[in-house]
């Protein structure tokens, strides 16, 4: 953790703040959004599990022609198992076990914060893998040739024609006598650490600061995230889902053309006469009275498939002897839907077989369907094991308020209220507590039996819905009242899972990834602002 100011750097920060006051007139900043540059970036969900080919690529850019320092905070929420040698709690298991112990342990999140700082030069983009980080060391790290991915190299000339030398991500403007600088002599500084652990799930917040780590009202940062999974081996597959970082713009009080300050309304002839709203201390005020940054949204809105809905666009068809989605052998389209025995394994359910009869879901002697396990009286009670591609959505919510100084999660704790509308205009509601981070399938919000959830397509009756999400203001608790606005931010991920009709889709990057057909992420829509302030308390 950086407890001391970043004194090793050349001091420009103080003058940068003053420079903002002399900048050209401009209207008031935009709302919180993922489509505009901002002073604070929120990356709600990061995932790392390198043993299973899972990692996250983060990209950040400086969109201005002045270098900028970026103070970032990983929030590690990877749950821990309290039992020695217990099973993994990653990413969001409720309980864990240990051989020989009868009672399970309850997984507990960590809420552990790790911070770092980097400097981006003018208009500079950068990116790193969360599992690997990056630093100003391009000159000292080896690459590998792009043709085989194994031959070590330093430069492209070391690789065969047509291939090039690929280095891991690094900050390239290292300065120094033999190093490289930007056209105007600017250099990168700082480093991004490795993810605190592997596997890892958590959040990243990045804040524009000066060299003394004081927050600075510069809306010059933008970012993107790409969560990817590489399945190696004979069944090699890749999948990626991307979203834009959510930007919280700083409020800038500037002298407008009508000679009034944009935020305070006082008369002015230059920006110097407009008092800055950002006092540049360690408490960042987001919205409400005394705001230094735009306020967080009152409502988040998500349009989504209801969980379990059959995707109307994904059709498993036979093309050139292979099914387009399941990749099994076929002679016609029916082979891609029916559960047939191919090479001693059923094509949809994967169980061992000798003939197609073994791939039928029939009522067994114990009144249980042979494949699905449903209770039955006769074969008609057993669901057909035909192939379907179905959709399940995961929601990630993070609080606007975070206390990195005192590591106090109670400031971020709030019930999230959900208001759900289906395509019949019918309204449902439910709620769930959110602490520092919540990543959950929609159909697990109010139950662990997905089929019975109000987010299940079988319950709602329509394919898609609109859900409005609101963090409840915790103004009843005197310990936190006035110190948090309890607003929420988030993203959604949509997973398409292939499998038999009787199986509710539960696949994602971590759970049952073999059934994962495709994934995509999206930013949530927002509505309104709340009068209360949210806060980020810096260490």
């Amino acid at each position: 953790m950086w407890n001391a100011p970043w004194r090793s750097l050349t001091v420009h920060g103080a003058v940068l703040g003053l420079a903002l006051l002399t900048a050209t007139p401009r209207p008031a900043p935009a709302d919180i959004a993922s489509d505009h540059p901002a002073a604070i970036l929120v990356f709600p969900k990061l995932l790392v599990d390198t043993a299973n080919g899972l990692d996250t690529l983060i990209r950040i850019s400086n969109v201005s022609d002045t270098s900028i320092n970026v103070f970032c905070f990983y929030v590690n929420v990877t749950p821990q198992c309290p039992l020695d040698n217990g099973t993994s709690c990653f990413p969001d298991k409720a309980t864990c076990t240990r051989p020989g112990q009868e009672f399970p342990g309850f997984c507990r999140p960590q809420w552990q914060e790790t911070d770092f700082i980097i400097r981006l030069t003018e208009e500079q983009p950068t990116g790193w893998l969360v599992s690997q980080g990056e630093s100003v060391n391009c000159a000292f790290i080896d690459g590998v040739c792009s043709n085989d991915g194994t031959t070590q190299c330093d430069i492209d000339m070391d690789c065969p024609p047509g291939s090039r030398c690929v280095q891991p991500p690094c900050l390239p403007l290292d300065g120094g006598p033999l190093g490289r600088t930007g056209p105007r002599g600017q250099v990168n500084e700082g480093a991004v650490p490795l993810s605190p652990e592997d596997p890892f799930i958590g959040e990243l917040k990045c804040i524009a600061v000066d060299e003394s780590l004081a927050p600075i009202a510069r809306n010059d940062l933008k970012g993107e995230v790409l969560i990817g999974r590489l399945q190696a081996g004979p069944d090699m597959a890749i999948d990626a889902a991307g979203y834009n970082a959510i930007g919280i713009p700083a409020l800038v009080n500037i002298c407008q053309e009508n000679r009034t300050c944009s935020l305070t309304g006082t008369t002015c002839t230059s920006n110097l006469q407009c008092a800055p709203t950002n006092n540049r201390d360690g408490t960042l005020v987001i919205g409400g009275s005394g705001a230094e940054y735009e306020g967080c949204p009152n409502i988040l809105i998500l349009d989504h498939f209801f969980d379990g809905a059959v995707d109307p666009l994904s059709n498993n068809l036979c093309e050139m002897g292979t099914c387009t989605i399941s990749n099994t052998m076929c002679s016609d389209d029916a082979d891609c839907l029916d559960n047939i025995c191919i090479g001693n394994a059923c094509s949809v359910t994967g169980n061992a077989c000798i003939s197609d009869t073994d791939c039928e879901n029939t009522c067994g002697p114990a009144s249980e369907c042979t494949l699905s396990g449903e209770r039955c009286v006769d074969d008609d009670d057993c669901t057909d094991p035909t192939f379907q591609t179905r959709v399940v959505t995961s929601l990630t919510l993070v609080p606007c308020t975070e206390d990195f100084e005192n590591q106090n999660p109670s400031l971020s704790r709030t019930p999230a209220q959900f208001l759900v509308f289906n395509e019949f205009e019918q309204r449902f509601s439910t709620s769930i507590p959110v602490e520092c981070f919540k990543e959950i399938r929609l159909s697990n919000i109010e139950t662990d039996q997905n089929e019975r959830s109000i987010f299940s397509a079988g319950v709602q009756g329509t394919l898609t819905g609109q859900t409005r999400i609101r963090g409840v203001v915790n103004d009843q608790n005197p310990e936190v009242a006035g110190r948090t606005g309890n607003a929420l931010l988030g993203i959604a991920e949509e997973f398409r899972c292939g499998g038999p009709k009787y199986q509710f889709p539960l696949c994602n990057f971590v759970d049952d990834p073999a059934r994962l057909v495709g994934s995509t992420s999206r930013n949530l829509h927002i509505q309104g602002r709340r009068p209360q302030s949210d806060f980020i308390y810096l260490p």
Partner: protein
């Protein structure tokens, strides 16, 4: 003390996260291997109507053969065929349809139930939505909030998303670009004024927020590797651009020259430009060779795009990344991810959408 000059551009006014009065879905594809699912919601507590326009920009072979397959023996010319339809949504109602199939009012559509999760079409139908008017369809969809009489209004009640799904189930999605309607100035005529000031065509000034002055994207250099998938992987970036101004009445295509300003990780600056009419989708490598990893030299780059000074329209769009990983036998593994542009600044000039007047 040295004062470092630092001019901060004005924020853009388009939105991909707030309900708006005009929704633009810049990339809509139905080409046999991909289809697009459109989702639109009414975020208000009253009924909302919208007038939607598909613009099919798929190339047509003037001769024999297929332009997309590269077998056309004549010229390939974009169709620029526009079709429109209206939808209505009850309070807070979401709806969806696939571009390839459209959506028809069918009272016999059965809702899902615990034994059946396949219920495409269930729910209150938003009206009859035509399927794509030809195969392939590559173009855009624009929906404009109107009142019951069909006059444009500044209700800001619409939000939307598009998901492009390929035949292997891979998907990418983006939020529709929204233009906020302004209160008091919308005169409800067929000339929609985006940004800018008072003019002959816009006597009450801007009726909607204007488009951004420029759009920004962080992207991989063309054919660079993606560290997520190893050094043998490659990334291609496909940019889709549409002009903010469009003339549905006279069917005049909007000509745009887009200027690119690109910075690599060394802070080196590259510039290029490309013209297009009405709608364009292209790999960065097709726009200019400077986007190639051999030219850019670094894996990541940042590109600012703006219409040229002489262009009479702002631009907006989306970008989609194709991540490829070679395997022992072709084709390579592929996955896609789509992103909305970051926008910066607000155009000072007015962009106009001319709606057809009707009978």
């Amino acid at each position: 003390m040295v004062i470092v000059p630092h001019a901060v551009p004005a924020p853009a006014a388009t939105t991909t996260e707030r309900s708006a009065s005009i929704l633009i879905f810049p990339k809509v594809i139905f080409d046999g291997s991909r289809d697009t699912l459109i989702q639109i919601s009414n975020t208000s507590n009253s009924m909302t109507h919208a007038l939607c326009f598909y613009v099919n920009a798929a190339p047509e072979c003037i001769g024999f053969g297929d332009c997309l397959a590269g077998t056309c023996n004549g010229r390939c010319e974009p169709r620029w065929i526009e079709i429109d339809f209206s939808i209505w949504l009850t309070k807070q109602q979401p709806t969806h349809w696939s571009v390839g199939s459209g959506r028809f009012t069918d009272l016999s559509d059965l809702p899902c139930d615990p034994d059946n999760y396949d219920c495409d079409g269930a729910g209150l139908d938003p009206g009859r939505i035509p399927p794509a008017n030809s195969v392939p369809f590559t173009g855009e969809l624009r929906c404009i909030e109107v009142d019951q009489s069909g006059a444009p209004i500044s209700g800001n009640h619409l939000k939307g998303e598009a998901t492009i799904v390929s035949s292997d189930g891979d998907a990418s999605s983006y939020n529709a670009v929204g233009l906020l309607g302004l209160p008091f100035t919308n005169n409800g005529d067929n000339i929609l004024c985006l940004g800018g000031g008072v003019s002959d065509e816009c006597p009450s000034g801007a009726e909607y927020e204007g488009c951004g002055e420029r759009v920004i994207m962080d992207h991989f250099a063309e054919r660079a590797d993606n560290p997520l998938f190893g050094p043998t992987s490659t990334v291609r970036t496909e940019v889709t651009l549409v002009p903010c101004a469009i003339d549905y009445e006279h069917q005049r295509p909007t000509n745009v020259v887009t200027q690119f300003l690109t910075f690599n990780e060394f802070e080196s600056r590259f510039s290029s430009s490309t013209p297009f009419n009405c709608w364009a989708t292209f790999l960065l490598s097709q726009a200019n060779s400077v986007f190639d990893i051999r030219a850019l030299q670094t894996r990541f780059a940042q590109t600012f795009m703006r219409p040229s000074d002489m262009t009479d329209s702002g631009i907006t769009g989306v970008w989609e990344e194709y991540h490829l990983l070679p395997q022992a036998a072709p084709p390579p593994q592929q996955t896609r991810a789509a992103f909305n542009f970051i926008e910066q600044g607000t155009r000072r000039r007015t962009d106009i959408i001319f709606l057809p007047e009707g009978p």
